[in-house]
Symmetry: C2
Subunit: 333 residues, 2 copies
């Protein structure tokens, strides 16, 4: 079987990534691959059949230049490299099986800094009840950390992006905008400890993901790492539906409100478009909400519903507007 289709799309071949942006690049790559895997390019992680369960594998690369804030400690960089991968594992409803970490390290780095990175990643694994299995170290001009997160999930418990149906309830864990508020607080020197910790030490929602998986009531799921509005669009696109989001029901931490006010920043921009939160955004069958609420308690909040069509709308009081994705796109200038 010829697995790879050469040059399926007649794309202009000399476009630079800075011109076409990440989304078009990713769709170009995905169109070249067609695989026998249960899920491949396009979802949060690859999925392979393994006995009576699915094996879930996520890989995510973090680079000094765009992913590590100057205020971040080495320990936090290691934690982050583990956390971003386990967040993808959580979004599939899987239990973590382990982490591999490939580190690209500048030669003038101190061994103590490397130990701190390793400790941060190991502590994140420990927190989630899983193991740091090993990895690779290579010399690089700037710090690059590529984690691989492994997980497993019963076959009937796999959560994907593509199962939302009209009538489903739209739900998220935690709150929106807290990590983004942390970034604002750092820029302005505000003492917003909770927000800065949310930004630098996100806790992957493994517990919540596995509970959602076990409920049998969740029809689609992903994390909010690219911001709420972007995640909403990706979930809607993958499922072929539209969402109606009730702005006033989106959970917001008091510290997020305070930081936005202190910085003179529009709160709705922070809430809707701020990235880095690593919460779960998911849809629930209408009859399943009681069960989900029983499992997740106050961690889960209904923020809207799922409709026919392909338009996402934001409801504020009695007015409606189209909700456009507003998150960050890599490469594009």
């Amino acid at each position: 079987m010829e697995r790879v289709i050469r040059h399926l799309l007649p794309l202009p071949t000399m476009d630079r990534l800075r011109d076409i942006g990440e989304k078009k690049m990713v769709s170009t790559i995905a169109s070249m691959l067609h695989t026998s895997a249960r899920l491949g390019p396009g979802d949060d992680a690859a999925v392979l059949e393994m006995g009576d369960r699915y094996l879930v594998i996520s890989t995510d690369m973090l680079w000094q230049g765009t992913h590590f804030h100057p205020s971040m400690s080495w320990w936090q960089k290691g934690w982050m490299a583990a956390a971003v991968n386990f967040s993808d594992v959580a979004a599939m409803g899987a239990q973590p099986l382990g982490l591999l970490l490939a580190m690209g390290l500048p030669a003038d780095l101190h061994i103590k800094n490397v130990q701190d990175i390793v400790q941060g990643a190991a502590d994140c694994c420990d927190r989630l009840g899983t193991d740091y299995l090993g990895g690779d170290t290579k010399e690089c001009s700037e710090l690059v950390l590529t984690g691989t997160g492994l997980g497993n999930v019963p076959r009937d418990g796999l959560l994907t992006r593509s199962g939302a149906r009209p009538g489903d309830i739209l739900v998220m864990t935690g709150s929106a905008g807290l990590a983004s508020a942390g970034l604002l607080a750092l820029d302005r020197g505000l003492n917003a400890e909770k927000a800065i910790r949310a930004l630098f030490e996100p806790i992957p929602r493994i517990k919540e993901g596995t509970l959602l998986s076990s409920s049998g009531m969740v029809t689609s799921c992903m994390d909010t790492s690219d911001g709420l509005s972007t995640s909403l669009h990706e979930l809607a696109d993958a499922s072929g539906v539209g969402f109606e989001v009730d702005y006033d029901s989106i959970p917001v931490d008091p510290e997020t409100r305070w930081v936005a006010e202190e910085c003179g920043t529009e709160l709705d921009s922070v809430i809707l478009h701020g990235g880095g939160d690593y919460q779960l955004l998911f849809t629930v069958r209408p009859e399943g909400w009681d069960e989900v609420q029983k499992l997740l308690g106050t961690e889960a909040t209904i923020i809207g519903r799922c409709l026919e069509g392909n338009v996402n709308t934001l409801m504020r009081g009695t007015s409606y507007c189209i909700l456009e994705p507003g998150g960050y796109e890599h490469f594009r200038r």
Copy 2:
């Protein structure tokens, strides 16, 4: 259970990586991790129990600055990123299950170049009968490719580095020094197509690895990517034995001899210390050689034997000398 031991070794904390080198760094990291996995830091890949088989996971990072020769095509860079990982999978005796590829890409790269990288990795997967499952793309100042190779192997067929015993036969696939001759040929503008292809398009020894696994006669195995002498030392160290290598029996391609001669380079340095070959180096129970030879045919050559002790010796005719590792070590200046 506390999985991570903090600061087990009282290392000087302000040493830079350029001073201490890769080996000491890796042993420092490995000492911090103790995991429940079957094999973790130190072997070619991590190993997890998965039903009645072992899941094998390898991750390897390649960086523009040290891993990609200026003459390499984009397609070859993609092939290489897949091949280095599947070579580790092969060294464990495993069948490949799939590849994930995280790409760090400069913003001024053309999409056509990215397509070529993806095609190279996909073609390597295709060649090995496995799938390119997906991955990640991020912006980076220089090209960084981190692959994750997955494989699986029956529990009683796992090949590791640590099982060689005195009396075992030392064997390798293919020949030694061909990739290194390719590098010399490029530097001197020699037309050495086979050697340059060996350097840029290594073919992971998956078929041979799985045959060795099925034989039940192989006691230890690793690949020769860091050069024969370095690999010999690592295999000996992991197994707690010494090797006696017969120099004249090491298989050498005629093109390797020709290139060394043309370049005025010592052939033994190319054969013993040249990296990039991705052959398998392994030990076989004395009674198992017939079986291994039947399975691998002329691909397998006996190059020595396994002795008590921890010294590796090189026999040339009737003279002996100590064989020191002479491969490249990352970071060290």
